[in-house]
């Protein structure tokens, strides 16, 4: 995994978030309390001189890890976040594709309508998944949340989508260029607070965090940020190897995303 220039990545993220805030009236961000969206908040604090100037949304299906909830309370207080908790109900008979699609997407849709958000910051990265690699920095969604991936808008240079380019909302992706290893290097450099589940306990750690039902640990002895960076320099497994969602039939991510999933 290639370690990129953190300075360059940071500048681009700041630029993208400031563009979003300047061009859209009602910006919000998704926060899963994972490493990527927490890094995004750290970057937002830099872009906007110490304050996150938009609400952060946790789509809470009630089955996240206890550590994740504790971390949410801790950081929301520490960084004075405008936290919105969007409750979603999971149904016992559902799992994987149906569950992520139904719970997360439906709860998000409801909230977006209620609050009238026109831009949503989402901390996806290109190196996570082949489908996410195809994204734009700013990507329009229609009123049904659909991603028209077969006909994406032209994104020349820094000319990101504006209000005129969408009937629904836009997804803003300030971390698109980061690799997994860059996230950890940035967390180290900036001392970003992080969910403890990422560190090894009894020979296993979470490398990608979802909810308790569909996320499993990977074998690892990495007990510190430095250990994780060292592990990623030589790893042969995919980041989302512990996510059930990605293991079902082919093109699950494509279908989920085209329907409005993050």
């Amino acid at each position: 995994m290639i370690k990129q220039d953190l300075n360059e990545l940071e500048e681009r993220s700041i630029f993208i978030m400031r563009e979003a805030k300047s061009k859209f009236k009602n910006v919000a961000a998704l926060w899963s309390m994972g490493k990527d969206s927490t890094t995004m908040l750290a970057l937002a604090r830099k872009a906007f001189l110490g304050k996150v100037p938009f609400p952060v949304i946790h789509i809470d299906n009630g089955i996240d890890f206890p550590e994740t909830y504790a971390f949410r309370e801790y950081l929301a207080r520490k960084w004075n976040l405008d936290l919105i908790i969007a409750k979603s109900q999971i149904k016992p008979e559902m799992s994987g594709f149906a569950c992520c699609g139904e719970n997360k997407t439906v709860a998000l849709k409801k909230l977006m309508v209620e609050r009238g958000f026109d831009a949503l910051i989402v901390s996806i990265r290109r190196d996570e998944h082949g489908i996410r690699a195809k994204e734009r920095y700013v990507s329009p969604r229609d009123t049904d949340f659909k991603w028209d991936y077969k006909n994406q808008r032209a994104e020349m240079w820094d000319d990101y989508a504006s209000k005129n380019d969408t009937k629904g909302h836009v997804r803003v992706h300030p971390l698109l260029d980061f690799n997994e290893i860059d996230i950890w290097s940035y967390i180290k450099k900036e001392k970003v607070p992080i969910n403890p589940l990422y560190f090894s306990r009894n020979g296993y750690r979470y490398r990608s965090l979802g909810c308790t039902h569909c996320t499993s640990k990977v074998k690892s002895s990495a007990k510190s940020i430095d250990d994780i960076i060292k592990e990623l320099e030589t790893t042969e497994t995919e980041e989302r190897a512990g996510r059930d969602q990605d293991k079902e039939k082919a093109y699950v991510m494509e279908r989920l995303r085209s329907l409005g999933y993050m």
Partner: protein, 407 residues
Amino acid sequence: MMINKVTLLGHKDHGKSTLLGSLLIATGSVTEQRINEARKTSRQLGRQFEPGYILDSFQEERENEMTIDTTRAQIKYKDAAFEFIDVPGHEELIKNMMSGASYADFALLLVSAKPEEGIKDQTKRHLFLAKMMGIKKIVVAVNKMDTVKYNEKRFKEIKTELSEFLEKIGFGNNDLDFIPISAYNTENLVKKANTIKWYAGGSLLDTLYKFARGSPTEGESNKMRIVLQGELPDKKEKTLIGKVISGTVRTGERVKLVPGSSHYRVKALFVKGAKAKSAKTSENIAITLDKKMAEDARGRILCSENDNLSATDDIDALVFFTSAIGGNTTIRFNGIEIPAKVDIRATVNVVTGNTEKSKKIKPLNAANIRLSLGESIAAEPFSKTMELGRFVLYSNREFAGIGIIKE
């Protein structure tokens, strides 16, 4: 590590995605899991293994064996790193190709050596666009050499014809290199292939490496140019945000707003959220001034007080049209959208490089135009300051092309 961004170019089916897939596998830049997934898909579709599936992730892309949208992949070679930007070769997907290529430092063009393939209109169109977008160096890989028995004559034929065209549109000999390869067989990609004995140059990655290490870009302006994005929300004191696109700025310095007539003194600067004495090129800053700015900051430029940068509403430009225009035409320039009247002076045939008398816009072709804008902008020639010398053209809210401002 700094990343060299390389866009692929070339006609559809000349092997762009296959090349990138092969490079990823040969350099160990992709996990076994990703390769196996591509193998599985190839089998399910009843086809031979296609390395391009590592990049082409959409179901539609794999089933139809075509790239629909741009994607990126990174490769480390010696002490350099490359980010390859894969793009679609189909004419109707040119906006996706342009979106990818607009981020590139240099280009890797693919031409198939097969007799029935060879140099196409689209091959030349991509090169014309690369030149317009400011790409300075091009590596031409003549692909599928295995299908013509590694014939040197065929390689030279393509090299001669393309060299002439490239020279015509403004690339110098030092900015070019030609290399014979077989992407599918991984020949001449990482290591030199012994099947092509007559070829004296290095492998593809060696050639790119040489370019990456080349001289820094010349002629870049060091004059202070700050593009303003707007202002920070909820601040007691008006705090502007923007990006330094060239030069440096210091606290206490006198600056001028363009368009506008006011002069200011820089009171405070913030870089990455912290107070700073100065800021340099490519930094995103926050800035406070000694007096209140009456104008809306977005899309305006701050420069040194004695700079001769001025605003204009009349612009001469070279435009590449992706579609015909009509009705409501606008340009997008540094974050703002401005109504524009387009007057065609002469069309430019992107396949021949010739200027033609016709004043009728042909999609996928270019023209020299005069733009009359609804309001003034701080424009400069593209050759001087790239960010202030380029714009995106919209017609009836649809993307219609890109333009660069002439001297």
